[in-house]
Subunit: 108 residues, 2 copies
Amino acid sequence: MLLIRQELGDVLRDFRQQRGHTLRKVAGDASVALGYLSEVERGQKEVSSEILGSVAEALEVPLSVIMGELSQRLAVLEGVESQLSPKVPDTVPTELVADYGSEYALRA
Amino acid sequence: MLLIRQELGDVLRDFRQQRGHTLRKVAGDASVALGYLSEVERGQKEVSSEILGSVAEALEVPLSVIMGELSQRLAVLEGVESQLSPKVPDTVPTELVADYGSEYALRA
C-alpha cells in the first residue's frame, strides 16, 4: 500500500531544497522541532494539519500546490504499482487455450 | 490557516456519497471504527497514512485522485482567503496621495 506520508515527506524536502533552505531555517520559521521535521521529510512521522500548514507557510508554498504535487507523484507510483502487479485473471481464457481435443481423440 | 483535515474529510465524504455507500459499509471495508471515520469526515480527527490508504481502497478511489480533488478545493479556498485578506501595504503609496503641499503653502 502506498503511504501518503512517505511521498509527502519527499515533496516537502524537495520544495525546501528548491528554495535553498536548511532544515534548521524551515523548522525555526514553522516553530517545529528540527528532528521532527527531519523525520517528517523522511516519511517516518505523520504530520498534523496544523504543522503541515505551518511548514507550508514557512516554505511559502500554498497547501494546494503541495497537494497537487503529491497527487501527481502518487499517480505515477500507482501506475508503476499496477504495472508490477497487473490484474491478470488466475484462469486462462478459453479462447487462448489451443484445442488439442480432436488431435488426442485421433491418436487415441 | 486552512486545515487539510477539514477539506480532506469533505472529500472523503463526497466520494463515499457519490458511490451511495454508508459510513458503516466503508468503515467495515476499511476495518476502521465507524465513529472514527465519521469524525475524520467531519474534519475532527487526523487520519494516519495507513487508514487513509484503507479508506481509499474501500472507496475504490486512488490516493492520487483524492489528493488531486483536495488540491483543487484548497486552491479555491486559498483564492477566497486572499480575497478576504488582501495583502495591502500599511502605507499609502506616494502616487495615491494628493499633493496638498502647495495649496497649504499658498494659504499660509
